[in-house]
Symmetry: C2
Subunit: 321 residues, 2 copies
């Protein structure tokens, strides 16, 4: 049983290579640049851990892990274009550095490269892996579309927001674990429990992310608190606030969002606190976390093998409150 | 043995369906709209014909044909963004109608949908089909990148231009035929000969396209003659002209390209004729056509089965000169 940290270091070494041919350099150099920006490689490591929950790690899990990481980077490159984001991990995004056309095509070929990785999977597992990979890829695109749609809407229902987060973020985490489980020879029931564990953990993580942006300790959180509020971003907090405020609070909230007063963050945080949005968010996070761990518990494998996933879950989503 | 026309009508019927889920409509409706714009569906029909050259058409060939057509449409959607093209087949492009972000994501999910089609292929053929599909997809992206690179260059060598056309256009035609051959149970030698036939035919077709834009009969050609010349597009003709003109002609050509005089087309056509670029282009086309048919000839299958492909080749690239 290997910890997330150990597998993360191993995968980083495995992935540290040239992924694309030399030519056309104008297409492939941007992709090599982007892959070198790093990241925690959470998804491929989940694939390795999903495999190791059931059996020793197979060669295929490294290949599928690379496919997943390439896919994830494809989504980042194209999302950055859509969001007009200038920076990613403190460095220039591809479209900012090389232009939008190059970023568009570089993303495309990154996705194709992900599928090229899947060719390497043993025939026995090729169909289930391709099927799950495709399903997940389509869902991630759908999640991104819902996210863009929601930006233009005045109000978003909590259930719709949850479904968007599930598609945009959670299903890829869940699928990474499940692909590992498939390669580890898990039965269908165990595969699906692990998938649900990943999905619920992903939602808990997003709730926590939204919570910390508003209520986190800036020292520990590592970025300015209130960024989402300043950007009028629809978060779990804002959506729930609109569902619970009274009419005068609603008017005030709308006014605060429409203007950009210097005390915007402070005043919105006060409304959040008055409506107990902070407590609600922690409860919601814990609800998903409990569900996640209960799925993990149900997997028919000796408890010892689950230890690294338990630790990872607890590390990603710290229990507070 | 079925003719291109018959198979084209059959494939059009097969492909005339809803391809995507209803929701999110903001993502999937644009794709349904785009697929309804039609087109000759040449590539999937090549897949069917490649299959029928060796055996009765298998169910898989229809699925792979759909995958190829979806892939082709993905490239059109993204190319239209890159080219800022307002129209496609006389109708608004996706980015013009729905915005660039939607077009970007709609193209992405169209590509994923193409891969979802490949899941349906019998296990026996899944690996070779996926491998060829991936290789071709990467090559088409590379071809598009070379094309964008060449637009910015002052001069392009004929060999480099040929390679670009091969990647951007020919390999998908060739791969469509070869995938059909694989599904038809062809041996490797026959598969590769058919691939080469498609590749050479694709180049001959592009040479003819460039030729007709300059020297075609506007009545028959269906579009304004000289469009490429007006747009300073690097074509087989312009590239060869630069390789053969004398110094005064070269200066004149450069001046004509730099300005946009009313007699630009006429004067450039005169230089082309003076340097016999027109004759050269017809010879080049015939050279590739001869090579294509010689590969077809070499395929170890009774001549009768080759008839529809011969007719298609002659229809696509009419022998002139």
């Amino acid at each position: 049983m290997q910890s997330f940290e150990l597998l993360s270091r191993k995968f980083a070494l495995h992935f540290e290579q040239q992924h694309f041919p030399a030519e056309p350099a104008s297409l492939y150099q941007p992709n090599e640049y982007f892959l070198k920006l790093g990241g925690k490689r959470i998804r491929p490591v989940l694939c390795l851990m999903g495999n190791e929950l059931f059996d020793d790690i197979k060669t295929d899990a490294w290949e599928v892990g690379s496919a997943i990481e390439l896919f994830h980077n494809f989504t980042l490159i194209h999302d950055d274009i859509m969001d007009k984001a200038p920076l990613r991990r403190g460095m220039e995004t591809i479209h900012a550095k090389y232009g939008e056309n190059v970023a568009l095509l570089a993303g495309d070929v990154m996705l194709v490269k992900a599928y090229q990785q899947l060719e390497k999977v043993q025939l026995e597992f090729q169909h289930p892996i391709l099927h799950l990979f495709n399903k997940t890829a389509a869902e991630v695109c759908e999640g991104q579309q819902w996210d863009m749609d929601f930006e233009k809407k005045e109000t978003v229902k909590l259930d719709d927001y949850l479904r968007m987060i599930e598609l945009k973020t959670s299903v890829l985490l869940a699928a990474s674990l499940k692909m590992g489980a498939i390669l580890g020879g898990a039965g269908e029931r165990n595969q699906n429990l692990l998938y649900e564990f990943g999905k619920k953990l992903g939602i808990a993580f997003q709730v926590q992310d939204d919570y910390l942006d508003a209520f986190g300790d800036p020292q520990k959180f590592g970025k300015q608190v209130g960024g989402d509020i300043l950007a009028n971003k629809k978060t779990f907090l804002l959506i729930h606030a609109f569902e619970t405020v009274n009419d005068p609070q609603k008017d005030e909230l709308n006014e605060l969002l429409a203007a950009n007063a210097p005390d915007k963050v402070e005043k919105i945080l006060k409304i959040f606190r008055d409506c107990k949005v902070d407590e609600w968010a922690l409860e919601l996070k814990n609800k998903y976390l409990d569900e996640a761990f209960s799925h993990l518990e149900d997997i028919a494998v000796v408890s010892k093998r689950k230890q690294p996933l338990k630790e990872l879950g607890q590390f990603l989503v710290k229990r507070e409150h």
